[in-house]
């Protein structure tokens, strides 16, 4: 399993447009990716390709999240997702 952490850059948090951009990107890659707040138990992670799940997490600007996948070949894909989270889509 591989993991990446990212700090939410969008000023509105991981809601609305930032959430839909991220969910679409996560849905487009082959590996199954989950997302959780840093420090939260692994079983509270949600599907990264679900905008509704992302919105339900209620992650705000500046919070740190963890991306995980069981697919050890998906490192580059995870890096791309981190870039999306660390871009301010609400600017």
């Amino acid at each position: 399993m591989i993991e990446r952490t990212a700090t939410i850059a969008s000023t509105v948090g991981l809601h609305a447009r930032p959430a839909s951009i991220f969910a679409e990107a996560a849905g487009a890659i082959d590996a199954e990716v989950t997302i959780a707040r840093a420090g939260d138990p692994v079983d509270e992670a949600v599907d990264a390709d679900s905008m509704l799940a992302l919105m339900s997490l209620g992650v705000e600007h500046g919070e740190v999240v963890v991306l995980r996948t069981g697919d050890d070949t998906a490192g580059e894909a995870l890096d791309a997702l981190v870039t999306i989270l660390e871009t301010n889509h609400d600017a």
Partner: protein, 570 residues
């Protein structure tokens, strides 16, 4: 021919085919199971395919929309195939629940979670419920609950219309609105007046008219008739002739004896303001500043606000523009200002009161208004909504002074403000009656509730008495004023829907209201009727209305004294 009689809320006579707003979708029954012959896998596939259909439809709409509406539609489209929603529904299908019930429950659970998060998320919960309804509609093979799409213009008939229903209403397609429920202050009535569409509300039985039937609608008398004959066609032709007479306002509001009653416009942005100026409005009596804020998850910056206000001011060089500061709360929630979980939002932290819980937003708005005013030649006045006490008026005036704004005022919407206008006007320079909220608070009747429509009527003598009390407060204030120079009372205007009713406009003028502000479409009719009465006649009619035993009696007494209404077909 069969006739139905409701309450006419916007004048105009038309003939056209009836198209029904599909009824709200019925909830799939609790515990509804898959039919015996349907395998869970088949139902799950149908569910996925219905979600994809809805996604495609919403994406197609998004491609035709612009701005904030486009983004909302794009996000809503994604919800229709969202893995969390669909997985939760399929889990239920696998336990034998019907696909319709499964998506219903899964959508409910997601919406509840979002509601619990409050603010922006709580607003999105409506989108989840909308997507859920659309998926159920596809599964059932029935039309989604939305305005039908036909090439030929039609008369839209519904039980009642909600803001979400009318957001996509195209006035070139819909030529009249008819509802079985609702009242004169309902959302349907407000939309009809804004769009200038003939409309009849509370016309029981109209939902039974067959789709496509030709009907005649008279928005003045409230009559809706099927299979119109020669008389109805003649009435439409006659209306079209009169409508051209009533289509222009010459820019001078006055009574028959020359008493000036300036007629101003209610606007919600620069485009409205330009239309109002083109319609010869004598200024802006109510600039709703929410347009700058709604749809924003954060407070707009100073430069954005200055540009937005200046766009309005520049449409009225040298004329009065009354700016209402942000009126968030109740039916206009804003994530960064209002608490969506209040049990009684209409009685909650809304309007001026948000300055208590989130200080700073108002001061920054006033600074932006002052900067915009300084760079334009409009005569800018500012007023706070939902002021209840003289102390609040004094605090607001102090904020205005600090921002460099010279003419502070208050909205009178709360009965306490009407009854203590004498003290409130010690601190501010003018008052403006917001009759919609004043009526709902005086009668303790929610504006949006059809069953309370009769209570929610600005003709209620209690409401007229509060208007009278406000004007008397202004007279009393000037008498008690320490300044010997001032001899005339501070101005009291009206900027609610009541000002757009020509008969009620006469009553308001008779009660001593000095300016009337309304949707620009109402200016010609109000001006035409005001010009048929003198001030003493208007006063006599106002006295009769205030002394009436009921709203209906007040309206009848005044209409009987205004023959011009019938002559103009109003």
């Amino acid at each position: 021919m069969h006739s139905f009689v409701g309450v006419g809320v916007f004048r105009g006579r038309v003939i056209g085919p009836v198209r029904h707003m599909p009824p709200a979708l019925a909830e799939p029954p609790v515990g509804e199971r898959l039919e015996g012959s349907t395998a869970p896998e088949t139902a799950a596939a149908a569910l996925k395919s219905a979600g994809a259909t809805v996604k495609e439809l919403l994406q197609e709409r998004a491609s035709r929309a612009e701005g904030a509406g486009k983004e909302v539609l794009e996000a809503t489209a994604l919800m229709a195939t969202d893995p969390m929603l669909i997985k939760a529904a399929i889990k239920l299908v696998n336990t034998g629940t019907s696909a319709e019930r499964a998506i219903w429950e899964a959508g409910e659970a997601v919406a509840d979670t979002l509601k619990g998060l409050g603010g922006y998320m709580a607003e999105r919960s409506h989108d989840v419920l909308d997507v859920r309804s659309r998926i159920v509609a596809v599964l059932r093979g029935v039309p989604a609950p939305e305005i039908p799409d036909f090439a030929e213009p039609f008369i839209l008939v519904a039980e009642d219309l909600a803001p979400a229903d009318t957001a996509t209403l195209d006035p070139s397609k819909v030529i009249a609105l008819v509802t079985a429920g609702g009242g004169p202050q309902s959302h349907t009535a407000i939309i009809a007046r804004n769009l200038g569409l003939p409309a009849v509300v509370a016309a029981a039985g109209v939902t039974g008219i067959a789709d496509g039937t030709q009907v005649f609608v008279d928005g003045a008398t409230g009559v809706v008739s099927t299979d119109p004959g020669a008389a109805e066609h003649a009435a439409v032709a006659e209306w079209q002739e009169k409508a051209s007479l009533l289509s222009v306002f010459d820019g001078s509001g006055r009574l028959a004896d020359g008493t000036l009653i300036p007629l101003l416009a209610n606007v919600g942005g620069a485009k409205d303001a330009q239309e109002a100026a083109a319609a010869n409005a004598q200024g802006v009596g109510l600039l709703r500043t929410e347009f700058c804020f709604l749809g924003n998850s954060t407070e707009p910056g100073h430069a954005d606000q200055v540009a937005a206000y200046k766009g309005v001011f520049d449409a009225f060089p040298g004329k009065k523009v009354v700016v209402r500061t942000l009126d968030a709360g109740a039916d206009k929630p804003l994530p960064f200002l209002t608490d969506a979980t209040e049990p009684n939002p209409a009685l909650g932290v809304r309007g001026y009161r948000t300055d208590l819980t989130t200080p700073g937003v108002l001061a920054r708005q006033l600074a932006a208004i002052a900067d915009a005013a300084a760079s334009s030649s409009a005569e800018v006045w500012v007023m706070a909504p939902m002021v209840s006490t003289a102390a609040e008026a004094a605090d607001f005036a102090a904020l205005c002074t600090a921002a460099g704004l010279r003419v502070p005022g208050v909205m009178v919407e709360v009965p306490s403000a009407a009854l203590t206008a004498r003290h409130i006007l010690d601190h501010v320079e003018f008052a403006s009656l917001g009759t919609n909220d004043l009526t709902q608070y005086a009668m303790a009747a929610d504006r949006q509730l059809g069953p309370l429509a009769a209570l929610n009527d600005p003709w209620q003598p209690a409401v007229l008495a509060l208007v009278q009390a406000t004007v008397e407060g202004a007279v009393s204030q000037v008498k008690h004023s320490a300044s010997l120079e001032t001899t005339s009372p501070k101005p009291v205007g009206v900027c609610g829907e009541a000002a757009a009713d020509p008969a009620l406009a006469v009553v308001l003028a008779g009660l001593g209201v000095s300016t009337l502000s309304m949707t620009q479409r109402a200016l010609p009719a109000v001006a035409a009727v005001l010009r048929t009465v003198t001030l003493p006649q208007a006063r006599a009619l106002a006295d009769r209305a205030v002394a009436a035993a009921s709203a209906a009696e007040a309206r009848e007494l005044v209409r009987a004294g205004l023959p011009a209404l019938a002559e103009l077909g109003l």
